[in-house]
Chain length 226, copies 2
């Protein structure tokens, strides 16, 4: 720390004292607001969503957080590692929000056996929020840029997606058993996710319809009752 220049010079041929190289340790990058990695993730998500992955250069991302062109590679191995990080962060956050919502829904219910329709409503409402809520670019990026990650990354993501989708299946089975859902559960789940996910393409926050209304209409469409 207090080593003088002359002392350093005595070690002839030894490396001069440098700032640490390489990517920062996990607990370094996660703490505080000096979280440049997080800023990169958020900016990358916004740009990837707006322009697409291929049309966004690492220079664009660097500029968005006030860095020079080469600096994102201090935080991420490659551009596609950055894309995958956006997707993974999006899925982890979505899974966390969904469990919180389901826990709350369960606690609010006075019945031992939860009403399946109410649960589906909670799942759909939360899903719309994840897709369309303000500043939520991570999941849209995951949905529409899956082509640009490697096969093994896709496999890893598929596990997170299974975790996310898991709570939907028993709810749909219950609704099928009670006659509220007529279609085959497996295909219904795929069609329902499609209907919801596609909203990213047309939903306009400024145009009147609220996420609650969207949820009501979805429930009517899929189960015949709000």
């Amino acid at each position: 720390m207090d080593m003088t220049v002359s002392q350093a010079q005595i070690k002839a041929g030894a490396a001069a004292p440098k700032r640490p190289r390489g990517r920062p340790r996990k607990n370094e990058e996660d703490r505080g607001d000096g979280n440049r990695r997080g800023e990169l993730l958020r900016s990358a998500a916004r740009l990837f969503r707006r322009q697409g992955f291929d049309a966004t250069s690492t220079r664009d991302i660097a500029a968005a957080v006030g860095m020079r062109s080469g600096s994102p590679f201090y935080h991420f191995e490659s551009k596609s590692a950055l894309l995958y990080a956006v997707m993974e962060e999006g899925m982890r956050s979505a899974i966390a929000k969904q469990s919180a919502v389901m826990t709350t829904a369960a606690a609010a219910s006075t019945k031992v056996r939860l009403d399946a329709a109410m649960q589906l409503r909670a799942l759909i409402r939360n899903h719309f929020n994840i897709l369309l809520g303000h500043g939520n670019d991570f999941i849209p990026v995951m949905l529409y840029e899956a082509r640009s990650i490697t096969r093994s990354q896709r496999t890893a993501l598929a596990h997170l997606q299974s975790t996310y989708e898991a709570p939907w299946t028993p709810v749909l089975h219950a609704l099928h058993a009670s006659g509220h859902l007529k279609a085959d559960v497996k295909i219904a789940r795929l069609l329902i996710f499609g209907a919801l996910n596609w909203s990213v393409q047309w939903f306009d926050r400024r145009k009147g319809v609220s996420l609650d209304e969207l949820t009501d209409e979805s429930m009517k469409l899929f189960t015949g009752a709000p």
Copy 2:
């Protein structure tokens, strides 16, 4: 035609006889199987769908039809003009197929007032075929690469899309009036298209489920009855 070299040389400074330059006339490019433009369109559609627009180079497309790197620009002004041509061709073909289907459905019916559920079924079945049928890459490209065309191209496409969607609205209104569709018609249409369009992401032709089954389950999900 029979002008000799010496005759040509007499016209000092005049342009020597050349093969015609520029893009071919409309009636030239549309006739016969020497339709290189059509081959370019089909190959571009396949590559754009597989790899995405940005990840596909004009060299890839040229190679796919056995051309050299610069030759696609003989047929199309630019790469994005090629993309737009794929989308437009996709929409025109889809509109044509849909009208044919609706005409047939009307002719097959003995009732003056067509059954709305039967019409919706026909529309959905045809839509699945357009999305998932063998070699149909044009519409998937249109659905997932809209970001890469210009605003004015998007406006032009929107007109074609309105034409395509037009027959759906009265059918959905009829089903709403008869109580088979509970949701708001406008939102229902958006959600239904989402459910269908998303199938491009997960449908696997080799995995058992047929387009007819998919249509049945869709009808059950949206109207409660196959």
